[in-house]
């Protein structure tokens, strides 16, 4: 026999006439007077609530800032985003993400992961449509150039181009806050300046001082500097340059490593091997290079996460 569970005694609360009748009626009376002027109901098609800026509605994509790195596509948990090749009259041949709203769960991971901060979620929520197919929004449909510009903290910062740099170190000399340090790139004979952006005062003296004009001042969204960075393991690199080809921001420069020449049987020397060097201030952490590397010499935390899943499930969008 199943043991009988004792029924817990409910504390009996006696409601008097006032508690049962008078108080509720006063409450409704108060409410009626309050809402006689203006009830809470919003006359939706005619009036709309002002939604908070963090509302996650339809997407907006800044075509000019987007670099087509497809991180949003990779991170999407519902796999509702896809890359589409476009031929833009202004921007040329580009790849931009589109969204299938029939599958989107509006989690906002795509906007969070976006390294260029060019994908936004607007407060527009009107998505009703007549067919599932029409819920598939192409990149052109979500294009909204210049959206959300005011949301980010920008700073005028010098950006470095390693391909032009010859290692004069003039920039480091003129820098008033001494935030530029010159370091030799491992295994190469080249010098490379690194900027401590926290101490940079945006004076622009390095740009003026550089004889090769390798520096360029630009308004940089500070959030983009906080992205993931690739780890490079030189011994495994085969100098295939796959990473440099795939980089959407062209921040990888293949640099010769002196001392790696080999003697051919006929006595001539081969060209020296090359290694990739990153302009970290341009890198957006899209992890395409890490994905492109077939020899495990490049590694990124995010890339590992995204690409493993991509390989396993072989997504078709």
């Amino acid at each position: 026999m199943a043991s009988e569970t004792p029924v817990p005694e409910r504390p009996e609360k006696k409601l008097s006439l006032t508690g049962y009748v008078v108080k509720p009626m006063l409450v409704t009376l108060k409410q009626a007077i309050r809402s006689a002027v203006r009830p809470n109901t919003v006359l939706y098609p005619y009036e709309k609530l002002e939604l908070p800026p963090s509302y996650r509605g339809l997407h907006a994509l800044d075509f000019k800032k987007c670099i087509g790195c497809a991180l949003c596509v990779k991170v999407c948990p519902n796999e509702c985003m896809f890359m589409k090749k476009l031929d833009d009259p202004e921007l040329g041949k580009i790849e931009r993400p589109g969204i299938d709203y029939a599958r989107c769960l509006f989690c906002g991971l795509c906007t969070e992961v976006c390294p260029r901060e060019c994908l936004f979620m607007t407060s527009d929520f009107e998505l009703a449509d007549y067919s599932r197919e029409s819920l598939r929004y192409d990149p052109e449909d979500i294009r909204h150039d210049g959206y959300g510009e005011e949301r980010f903290n920008r700073k005028l910062l010098p950006l470095h181009d390693f391909t032009k740099c010859t290692g004069h170190a003039k920039c480091a000399e003129v820098c008033p806050t001494q935030c530029i340090t010159i370091a030799q790139v491992e295994r190469t004979s080249r010098l490379k300046p690194e900027v401590d952006f926290d101490n940079c005062i945006s004076c622009g003296k390095c740009v003026e001082a550089c004889p090769e004009s390798a520096w360029k001042m630009d308004q940089v969204i500070l959030e983009t500097l906080e992205t993931d960075r690739p780890f490079f393991y030189l011994p495994k690199c085969t100098s295939c340059a796959a990473c440099a080809r795939v980089c959407p921001t062209e921040c990888i420069a293949m640099t010769e490593m002196p001392g790696t020449e080999k003697r051919r049987p006929d006595g001539t020397m081969t060209k020296p091997k090359k290694r990739p060097v990153w302009d970290m201030d341009k890198c957006v952490g899209c992890a395409l290079c890490a994905e492109a590397c077939k020899f495990d010499s490049l590694w990124m935390e995010a890339a590992k996460l995204y690409s493993e899943r991509i390989r396993e499930e072989s997504v078709t969008v």
């Binding site: 049962y20 009748v21 509720p24 009626m25 409450v27 409704t28 009376l29 409410q31 009626a32 809402s35 006689a36 009830p39 809470n40 109901t41 006359l43």
Partner: protein, 382 residues
């Protein structure tokens, strides 16, 4: 009788109806008599004989009363639509909503739109339902409600009268007819062959047992005080002294509670009880039958407010800034607002609680109230 301050020259609604009836009968007899003059002998004689019947006093009275009923029904329908509108709007405001607002000014015509919609709906009868009872219940319900419209006057002349005089003992007639609907509800609940409807019907019977006696005792106290079974007599007695809500305040409260129970409105809507019984005894009704039942519900609401107004709030007694029918309706609307307010505030009582309230609280109070009335009369106060 004056309408909107303009003297119409009619002493009562019956005068107007008689005029209309004479006009109708004139046209009829012109057609029938004219045909009788021009047709061969058998038909002509028959038509002349018919013409005699048409011109008779009995026929005049019948047509006049029919016209009167139609006018009263139109008045009741207009008020019924307004009552529904008030309920929807006020309830919405108490719930922080807006209520109907698109059809007509402030959504006033929404009820008509809903009615039209219900007309287009299919009328479904459950397979195992008792067809006779299922179909008869709404008819009984509406007939009982329409009957009371006839006997309850809005103003001295504005009611179903014959040559300006009401039927005697209209109070008794009204309350007799007012007590019929629970019977119809029970029939409907039983015949629909559905457990929810059956429970709803049984609850209606239980509800009736609890409120009917205190309510009639409260009415009896009014009758004792006024010295007549006539609405006109009762209102005139109040005009002569004071509204009976003042000396018989206990009775007024008891009557209001009982009338809310009688109307099956929240907090006493046990037979419907959407939360427990789907839609109670109306569960199986669909289409315009359902619309009819809902409309009759509100029509009974209108009648209940009129009854409370006439018995306790002095009927058409009031300063001459409003016409007399205006005062009656104003008070009825005020009571309806209170009922809607109660609906928005109070939780539904259980079946045992309504019996508890009816037998242990309202009945002693009603007896006390009757005692007050008897004492007042025996002291010669009224």
């Amino acid at each position: 009788m004056a309408l909107f301050g303009i003297d119409t020259g009619w002493s009562s609604l019956y005068d107007f109806s008689e005029g209309v009836a004479k006009w109708i009968i004139g046209i009829l007899s012109w057609i029938v008599g004219g045909l009788g003059d021009n047709l061969p002998w058998v038909f002509g004689d028959f038509l002349h004989w018919s013409d005699g019947i048409i011109r008779s006093d009995l026929h005049l009275a019948l047509v006049a009363i029919t016209v009167e009923s139609v006018v009263l029904l139109l008045i009741a329908t207009a008020n019924l639509l307004t009552f529904i509108w008030i309920e929807r709007k006020l309830l919405a405001r108490m719930m922080d909503r807006r209520g109907p607002m698109y059809v007509g000014a402030l959504g006033y015509l929404q009820q008509i739109a809903d009615g039209l919609k219900l007309f287009l709906k299919e009328y479904i009868v459950p397979e195992k339902a008792d067809r006779l009872g299922f179909d008869a219940a709404p008819v009984v319900l509406s007939a009982a409600a329409f009957f009371i419209i006839g006997v309850v006057p809005i103003a001295p002349g504005l009611g179903l009268t014959y040559q300006g005089s009401y039927a005697s003992a209209t109070v008794l007639l009204a309350f007799a007819a007012f007590a019929v609907p629970p019977f119809a509800v029970l029939i409907a609940g039983w015949s629909a062959n559905n457990k929810y409807t059956l429970i709803g019907g049984m609850r209606a019977a239980a509800l009736m047992m609890s409120y009917e006696i205190p309510m009639l005792l409260a009415v009896a106290s009014v009758v004792v005080l006024a010295g007549g079974f006539d609405f006109v007599t009762i209102v005139e007695a109040q005009q002569a002294s004071i509204w009976f809500a003042a000396p018989l305040f206990i009775g007024f409260v008891v009557f209001l509670i009982c009338i809310v129970a009688e109307l099956e409105r929240i907090p006493f809507d046990l037979p419907e009880a959407e939360a427990e019984l789907v839609e109670g005894w109306t569960t199986e009704y669909s289409g315009m039958r359902f619309g009819m039942i809902m409309a009759i519900d509100y029509l009974r609401g209108y009648i209940g407010c009129l009854l409370a107004t006439l018995l306790f709030l002095g009927g058409w007694d009031g300063p001459a800034i409003l016409p007399d029918w205006g005062w009656t309706l104003l008070k009825a609307y005020f009571l309806w607002v209170v009922f809607v307010w109660m609906r928005a505030s109070l939780p539904r009582v259980r079946t045992d609680q309504i019996l508890h309230i009816g037998w242990k609280r309202l009945l002693p109070l009603a007896m006390l109230n009757l005692l007050v009335a008897v004492v007042l009369v025996s002291l010669g106060w009224v």
